[in-house]
Symmetry: D2
Amino acid sequence: MPNQRLQGIFTPNLVPYTSDGSINEEELRRYIDWLIERGVHGLYPNGSTGEFTRFTPEERRRIAAIIADQTRGRVPILAGAAEANVKETLAACEYYASLGVRAVAIVAPFYYKLSPASVYAYFKEIGDNTPVDVTLYNIPMFASPIDVPTVQRLSEECERIVAIKDSSGEIPHMIRMIQAVRPNRPDFAFLTGWDAALMPMLLVGCDGGTNASSGVVPELTRKLYDTTLHGDLEAARRLQYDLVRLFDAMIYSAEFPEGFRAAVGLRGFNMGHGRQPMSSEQRTDLETLSNELQCHLAAHGFTDQPIGGCPVDPNAVIADTAEVSAIVQSVLAELKRRGL
Amino acid sequence: MPNQRLQGIFTPNLVPYTSDGSINEEELRRYIDWLIERGVHGLYPNGSTGEFTRFTPEERRRIAAIIADQTRGRVPILAGAAEANVKETLAACEYYASLGVRAVAIVAPFYYKLSPASVYAYFKEIGDNTPVDVTLYNIPMFASPIDVPTVQRLSEECERIVAIKDSSGEIPHMIRMIQAVRPNRPDFAFLTGWDAALMPMLLVGCDGGTNASSGVVPELTRKLYDTTLHGDLEAARRLQYDLVRLFDAMIYSAEFPEGFRAAVGLRGFNMGHGRQPMSSEQRTDLETLSNELQCHLAAHGFTDQPIGGCPVDPNAVIADTAEVSAIVQSVLAELKRRGL
Amino acid sequence: MPNQRLQGIFTPNLVPYTSDGSINEEELRRYIDWLIERGVHGLYPNGSTGEFTRFTPEERRRIAAIIADQTRGRVPILAGAAEANVKETLAACEYYASLGVRAVAIVAPFYYKLSPASVYAYFKEIGDNTPVDVTLYNIPMFASPIDVPTVQRLSEECERIVAIKDSSGEIPHMIRMIQAVRPNRPDFAFLTGWDAALMPMLLVGCDGGTNASSGVVPELTRKLYDTTLHGDLEAARRLQYDLVRLFDAMIYSAEFPEGFRAAVGLRGFNMGHGRQPMSSEQRTDLETLSNELQCHLAAHGFTDQPIGGCPVDPNAVIADTAEVSAIVQSVLAELKRRGL
Amino acid sequence: MPNQRLQGIFTPNLVPYTSDGSINEEELRRYIDWLIERGVHGLYPNGSTGEFTRFTPEERRRIAAIIADQTRGRVPILAGAAEANVKETLAACEYYASLGVRAVAIVAPFYYKLSPASVYAYFKEIGDNTPVDVTLYNIPMFASPIDVPTVQRLSEECERIVAIKDSSGEIPHMIRMIQAVRPNRPDFAFLTGWDAALMPMLLVGCDGGTNASSGVVPELTRKLYDTTLHGDLEAARRLQYDLVRLFDAMIYSAEFPEGFRAAVGLRGFNMGHGRQPMSSEQRTDLETLSNELQCHLAAHGFTDQPIGGCPVDPNAVIADTAEVSAIVQSVLAELKRRGL
């Protein structure tokens, strides 16, 4: 198993909260079973979708432990292991290794924007000392970017670095990485974190993805993966188009990952309130979104329509273009005046 | 005169249009006289405020010729001379020299984003062949940036390059340029194009500015310049604060330079409609802005209040914060969904 | 023909220069024949590759006229028609229509960064008055972006707007546009301007591209297009990977479009020197690049190896990673200090 | 005291490390005394300069406790208190209050990029529940931005929010904040975190700064502060120019805050190695920088010249412009090719 390339869709787990804001273990266990039954290839706790930065170091370990215990080897686990510094991160790797995870995923250092040389030095020290396989995690919108030469160099120097998860969503970047790494490391895996480009990413050579949508509609993402790999491009394209619509609604309509949390709630789970406070206006927006998401999910048969029904054409949920354009224009001016 | 450093506020001229969209020469001449009478130190046709990109090469020459003819040497002229390529730009320099302008201003190449080496090569060829003094024009939000070493190198190699107009608005950048250039070229001038930082720019060593606001309220910008230079910091600070308020209203509430055009209209000039088409929503927004601007100008005694009056506190024109915040939030989500 | 969707690869024509910097008509005609013989589906003068901003309005017309005359209807022509303002642009459209072009392509307004409402108003006025079919041209790295709702609205209101060329290279953006427009306008075409994503773009529903690489290796881009459409994904992927390597070398190693100009020179054309001046260091860099490009082209049998030969592995032209990383790091620091 | 506005220069403390990478308490205590003796107005542990993200929650508390103990009320302390979520952050506020700090400073949420509404909601919950005065901390290059209306609203609703530290370095932004807040909250303080604009910031109305340079040359920043407040503009300007040179060398020549750590080492402290690993190339670069910094410090009499001496003109440490430009150009191309 250690030498087999990571592949398939790993679901980045959201964490359900109890009413007092702590981890809802029971609901988390129920959610894990539900995901596995619907065909996800693996699980991925403590990623960005899993809000790893909003937990204490102890909570992050507990989340992975619950998931490992509930999974009992049915699917592989990729555990997010980034901590405050290299020493703390390696200690977390030790712990996750003891849980039997397939690999850890480590995001590049964030807050400070590091140079390629520093990103290399950081992962090199981890790669040389880790007791478990490591997946690099590149998410340039949130963390220091991991550039192509850095991936190449690390893949050549560190056997235990076995994959990269890339959330940039850029096809040419993915091609450049595969070109640079695969000739020397055929066991190295490439996973995309950008759901809106999943099908074309698979077609240019990706091995799979870690896609937040798979926590909401695991049936759809699994089918998209299977049809693409079987070369049924027409069906795959239709599924990808549907996924873009759903993904956009979840990712752009509320503060990430609240749109995904709302959608998982619609699939029957009690997710609780997130740890990032919301204004009353934001709570109202989230309810509107929830209704819209229910229509999307109902259109695919994943749930019932909301009370009051849905528009005939799913496109119609997007308001009249001209009207929106006028609002946007006036608000853009307002935004700029306010120094944004 | 050739060896005297450029200094003071050069007004970037807006061009009034006739009802059929051509240059309104009569109104332009009347506007020039009005500006000179109100104390602007110089005039600056064919800048960004003057919409140089929206005119044909022939029109650009005609605008400068009208202004030179009307000015008759009362104040120096800085003529925007950028054309499609070096050869055309040098031909324009010849023409502007024949009009007796004090200097030309040449923006760095735009559309393509050029490297420092290319920006250097471009200005070097111009600086070596120009028949008239040249002001570099750095406006990184619209054109290729001119970095500090490029300014330094050009100032050392090309005697006819005598100034830089910088619209970045960044104080540390201005300090770095002055540090790099002034020791070897005491005759080299530094002008700021960012009205919202005019007073502190003068205090760290700038020689003046090319400020669109001076085309609207030449009395205010002149007074700000004079009080700052005379060390009356308390008065200068108050004027700078007022200028920020007015500048923000003009620059962020409509497509640049329409806010400035509307405001010059309020000072009594028939500016006509700009060449960039507007949607009906945008026309309505511009009318609202015009009312708001009239209140700003009335507060300083530059015009009467609009019919219906003005809010007591000029701050009150900005709507209730919480309400705006809710709108902004919902529209931001909409913007993102639309791929912005 | 007017109702047939645009499709295939349209080559954005570079313009060869004589030794005195004017248009080399003879070489341009020879180049056009060469391209058509190698299977390009169409020609595209006055695009970004064709350096439209560096020509006078009269020269832009002459370039299109020469190409139309030489082509004599063998392939359709898409003529870049953007001028200083709407009135001048419509006059250019009239002229290009008289040449018999299939359509014009019009870039969104540049220099000033316009809002979606203004971009809409601009194209609406053109779309309502054009005598020839119009292709929108979205290139957000150089010009104001054309967002999805704007494309949708224009496609619904203006029958003569028949296509969009998008150079963002973002797959999800392309999917969103197709989703928004195709249901109501099955005749509307989607072309990608980003060569590094050509194959996946075609697979998600694009109709073709306007790809600078096709002016250098028309055989390769044609084959990539054909194999992708015939579903030979393995071959298409290999060609796409090769294209990324070649494209990257041409686009990132010199000021655009000089890398492409050098490569066309290697195919046997006398392209002359570009109009943007180069420093002596840049000329040296371009010679190094030229050698590297020759190796790329030789690897595909398009030309001979340079004197001195090529590295065995084309990857090997990229210097040792660690060494480059050290240089990059030290220069990044230098860049930052200089205010970049 | 609670109603007195924060003012003066608060030094963001670097943390010295022992050889095994833990906090060097003895050296930290010695450094605190040294700073206070040289006239810093306050101390600021757990800021960005203090690498707060690289410590565990327990270590952050220990750092503040050591500093509070060593300071014994000689100067006020502003303690960085951001933790993983609101609940943890409030617990940290309780602890820092028990240490007797003057206020805490809380950076806007980072990693995820939050909307203004979410940033508001986050600080509102903290502001309503904190037992100690709170300083907002705006550092848009690292964390979600805090916009002007959010500052205004929070200042009006939360009495315990008493200041903002702004590290954007933008003068117009500072003016807009002061305009929006000061009329209703004369006790609210504005501190700038951008050393390169310290003098003009003070001149437009800032109350002070939290400036990393003050940990290296507290004598210089104190003198800059005093001369500016006393209206000795000529002297202040010279000091500001010197500070820009020194600040640029420390901030742009190595991964932040290593340049500052090296410089504090030159003032006689054993700072140890940072927790972010460095490549061997980076270690060499840091030694070169150290030499250059020593020359800067020696030029002001803060230390001896390095063995081997310094260039006559401090400007001369910057290499010949043309040569650097050539390197930069070639490396920029390399950077782009590598996907940066």
